[in-house]
């Protein structure tokens, strides 16, 4: 009887946990243009890993899993090659932020999801209309499925015009008018909360080369903040003004880190930022966790790893220096995002 009670309690806890889940899944981490792993690079990695396997003294197939799971990301799978696409979801609701090439694979999953509870509708929020954030739209399987309703959202009033232009001959074989899904467009008001399913979503302005709006997504008191693409020129509280809310009381922030601070200074104005700037902001504003993303397509996985290590050095030095001032310092959990990253928010 006691054992049954424990099982029921654990099930209820699990169910409750599942009921309240609020998660981010990353589908695309590159900026500008997709950057897939080439066959040659993959082959070189496999050769190098086989050599390492034997150099480390492993000899049998039974050691393979141990070896592979211990490998750092840049040595095998890498960070990913698709451009920006992020899925924010709860048990009942899902939104997609940006529609880069990562949207293709996300769409395949949605299209084949036959769960009766899942509604046949998709909600896609666009931060801006640069190619890397919209190029996945024509290849989003649900858009070619008559069962689906597809909703597009943006602050920029030219939203519908931009999406329609993607389905125009000779650029694409299927004209917009012939798409079988039901498509609608919603222009959001800047800095005004918008309710959708489980979420409260507020757009805030980012600092990019063309109008670009980040999103604050709230669910049961937990907050996700989407800050890509941005150079983050406005950083002081005074300069951010109303847009400071994008960085306030945030559980998880995704932040533009296309360049190291050194490269950023060479390329500025570029419309993109650096992980160290994201960390400075997170430390100041008490942001709990940060995922860095939007990598330079020309950076190899090893270069991104080096950049991550430099960021780690910077962060540790910054925390030490701040601690020396005698003040309480907010410590931030952070990492560099990979495609397939799927984490709880809050």
């Amino acid at each position: 009887m006691t054992r049954l009670l424990i099982i029921v309690i654990l099930f209820l806890i699990g169910t409750r946990y599942d009921q309240n889940m609020f998660r981010l899944r990353v589908w695309g981490v590159r900026g500008a243009v997709p950057s897939p792993l080439t066959p040659l690079v993959l082959q070189e990695r496999i050769f190098a890993r086989f050599n390492e396997f034997f150099e480390m003294g492993f000899i049998s197939a039974s050691h393979v899993k141990e070896f592979v799971t211990a490998l750092p990301d840049y040595k095998l799978s890498g960070f990913g090659g698709n451009t920006s696409c992020y899925e924010v979801y709860t048990k009942e609701s899902r939104i997609i932020i940006d529609a880069g090439t990562g949207l293709r694979e996300l769409g395949l999953g949605i299209n084949h999801d036959r769960s009766p509870k899942r509604k046949r509708e998709c909600h896609i929020f666009l931060t801006h209309f640069h190619w890397d954030h919209i190029m996945g739209i024509p290849f989003f399987a649900p858009i070619l499925n008559q069962e689906f309703q597809i909703h597009f959202y943006a602050v920029q009033p030219e939203l519908e015009q931009v999406v329609r232009s993607l389905f125009r001959r000779p650029l694409f074989a299927i004209p917009f008018e012939e798409l079988p899904s039901q498509i609608s467009f919603h222009v959001l008001r800047p800095r005004e909360k918008f309710l959708l399913g489980d979420f409260e979503i507020t757009p805030y302005m980012l600092d990019h080369t063309d109008p670009c709006w980040g999103f604050r997504v709230e669910y049961q008191g937990r907050v996700y903040s989407h800050c890509v693409d941005t150079e983050c020129f406005r950083v002081s509280r005074k300069d951010l003004g109303e847009d400071l809310a994008l960085y306030s009381n945030v559980d998880l922030m995704v932040f533009d880190s296309q360049y190291s601070i050194g490269h950023l200074l060479q390329k500025s104005p570029s419309g993109h930022s650096s992980a160290t700037i994201g960390l400075d902001l997170a430390i100041r504003e008490g942001i709990k966790r940060v995922l860095f993303t939007h990598y330079n397509p020309n950076d190899s996985d090893f270069q991104i790893h080096r950049y991550r290590e430099q960021t780690r050095e910077y962060y540790e030095a910054a925390i030490n220096r701040l601690s020396e001032t005698g003040r309480r310092v907010h410590q931030v959990m952070w990492d560099f995002a990979r495609e397939g990253t799927d984490i709880e928010i809050g």
């Binding site: 601070i261 200074l265 100041r284 008490g286």
Partner: protein, 165 residues
């Protein structure tokens, strides 16, 4: 919970054609540097002893501020946070800028305190030019409080990297 940054401020002293800006506090998003063209200087000296921290937002402000300077720049009494960036970031100081003096962090084990020791170009080190730089790091430093020997609290190959030894 966020922290309050130590307020950035500077003092401006003019000696003939030379303007000396003594900078205090944190160089961060709140740092506001004066427009160099308004300083009416033939030479700019930055006294950086009291800089406690420079974060990457501050680095961006600093580099953008100095990058268009057409007058010679000298960095004087550079605090360790400044030297760290001189070593890490190419272009942190404008081309031709001179590091006239800087502090080396030492540590007293007995007092459990950091002590910064000043070294000066010409007397203690030479900057790289046609040849590599040189430094005779101060040895036998003693704590002024307890007279115990001080330990250099940096990795020389890292801290003196800008001297291209």
């Amino acid at each position: 919970m966020s922290i309050t940054t130590k307020e950035f401020r500077y003092e401006n002293l003019q000696e003939d054609e030379t303007v000396i800006l003594k900078v205090h506090g944190f160089i961060d998003e709140n740092a506001e540097f004066p427009e160099i063209s308004t300083l009416k200087a033939g030479h700019l000296v930055l006294d950086l002893e009291d800089v406690q921290l420079i974060n990457s937002i501050g680095i961006r402000k600093w580099v953008l501020w100095l990058q268009n300077s057409t007058i010679p720049v000298t960095l004087r009494r550079c605090a360790p946070p400044i030297i760290e960036q001189v070593n890490i970031l190419l272009g942190f100081i404008p081309e031709g800028a001179v590091v006239e003096s800087f502090f080396i962090p030492f540590f007293c084990e007995k007092c459990n305190k950091n002590v910064n020791v000043l070294v000066t170009e010409g007397a203690d080190y030479t900057l790289p030019g046609a040849h590599r730089g040189k430094i005779e790091a101060p040895s036998s430093q003693k704590c002024k409080v307890c007279s115990s020997p001080l330990e250099m609290d940096v990795l020389p190959q890292k801290y003196f990297k800008f001297l291209k030894l």
